[in-house]
Symmetry: C2
Subunit: 253 residues, 2 copies
């Protein structure tokens, strides 16, 4: 398996994301091949779609003020995070813990870093549909079948530092189901599935960085993926009842 | 960045792990180069050290019986998990949620899969020290500086499928600290750190599988790591008070 970091310039709304990808591939003297996976940082999807909230237009609610006190984050930023959330699970110093589109994330994915001054970046709606559009365009361009991930970073329980999360996927099976297979001693696996899309995004994060690297695209070649055109986005998420952490923490409530 | 899966035969206590690694590299016609990272599945560390509990010798406590009912797992397995835990955080269907050596994990890392019949595999003590011994031996053998990860898999909150976790590391900086760096617009980063060792282990998990693949070793070349001989294992973990999930869930308790 090989990973190629693809540099881009600083992107703005006027940029066309597909052209940005094609230029980045061209600059790296790479073309796409059958079974390649392209990872795309959500931030450049948001930037090229102009998903920026002008902070002067944000009307701060009492709830946002309450969360600003707990998190230590600006109240207008908390207001945007609240508006972007499907559900608020709670707050702690540094973050509002939210759900959005079935994904757990701090501040509903709203972000102050790498946003132009005076703006807050928000996540795109339906990242898998955007991934699908990019997949189809690139497949037509390079005449091969590929996978696309639109991903972000997240923190892990009791771990320091971020890893990758696939918010949108297209073109391949994002979770490998090993249930029913036999282990080395012939014992049947009952639980094991692998978060292949999240792991690919984590691998990409090693190269893409989070600050000023300008590597929002990573091409992954020879990953053992299964190509499909089925939309399997929902298979990446589980309910709180199925989740080891949630079902443990919420059991006495 | 390139990843090479390294196959091994089915391993037993009589096998010498260093020889196993050298044979696997030789079979793949690979030698180690400056800055390479070798990931090693904890399971082969445990197997070659004979860290196997004979199930007939396990005395099941009342507490283990209680957790067996909640989890649906065998009571003798729960007993071993309890003995291997530093702290039990709770239980849900399918797993006992525990802490061990600062790492959060199901069943304290005790495992029935890929264990010989009648045995439960347990984790080695001090995986970073084992990683260091392997690092030093391989560095002497290949005359270069490398990184070594001894890792396992884990589940993520509200996500389906496993990703990688580095339990032991040696030879490189496992968490990249981006705090103080400036973003694309000159704004200083206050929070961002990247779990590079966990991300490398997640990347390796894409190739190594969890069932009968016999790929417990992955060589990662050209990863942007910083070599060091300092033991930075503890920097990978945070306290429940610093953790977004724990500090949120535990705030009303």
């Amino acid at each position: 398996m090989q990973l190629f970091p693809l540099k881009t310039p600083l992107l703005v709304r006027e940029d066309n994301l597909l052209e940005v990808i094609l230029t980045a591939l061209g600059n790296a003297e790479l073309s796409l091949q059958e079974g390649d996976v392209l990872t795309i940082a959500t931030k450049i999807v948001s930037l090229t779609r102009g998903l920026l909230i002008d902070r002067t237009t944000v009307k701060v609610s009492a709830q946002a003020k309450k969360y600003a006190k707990i998190t230590g984050l600006p109240a207008d930023f908390m207001e945007v995070a609240l508006q972007e959330s499907d559900e608020v699970l709670g707050a702690c110093k540094g973050a509002l813990l939210t759900k959005r589109d079935g994904h757990l994330m701090p501040n509903a994915g709203a972000d102050q870093s790498n946003a132009p001054k005076g703006y807050i970046i928000i996540l795109p709606e339906n990242p898998s549909q955007i991934a699908r559009e990019i997949q189809k365009s690139l497949e037509a361009q390079f005449n091969c079948k590929i996978g696309v991930i639109i991903g972000d970073s997240r923190v892990q329980p009791l771990r320091r530092g971020t890893s990758g999360i696939a918010l949108g996927v297209a073109g391949f099976v994002p979770v490998i189901d090993d249930r029913g297979r036999k282990d080395l001693y012939g014992r049947e696996m009952k639980m094991t599935r692998r978060a292949i899309a999240d792991n690919l995004m984590s691998a990409a994060e090693i190269l893409s960085g989070e600050v000023d690297e300008k590597v929002p695209l990573v091409l992954i070649r020879n990953a053992p993926i299964t190509l499909t055109d089925e939309d399997l986005t929902e298979t990446m998420s589980i309910s709180p009842q199925e989740c080891m952490y949630f079902s443990t923490f919420l059991s006495d409530r």
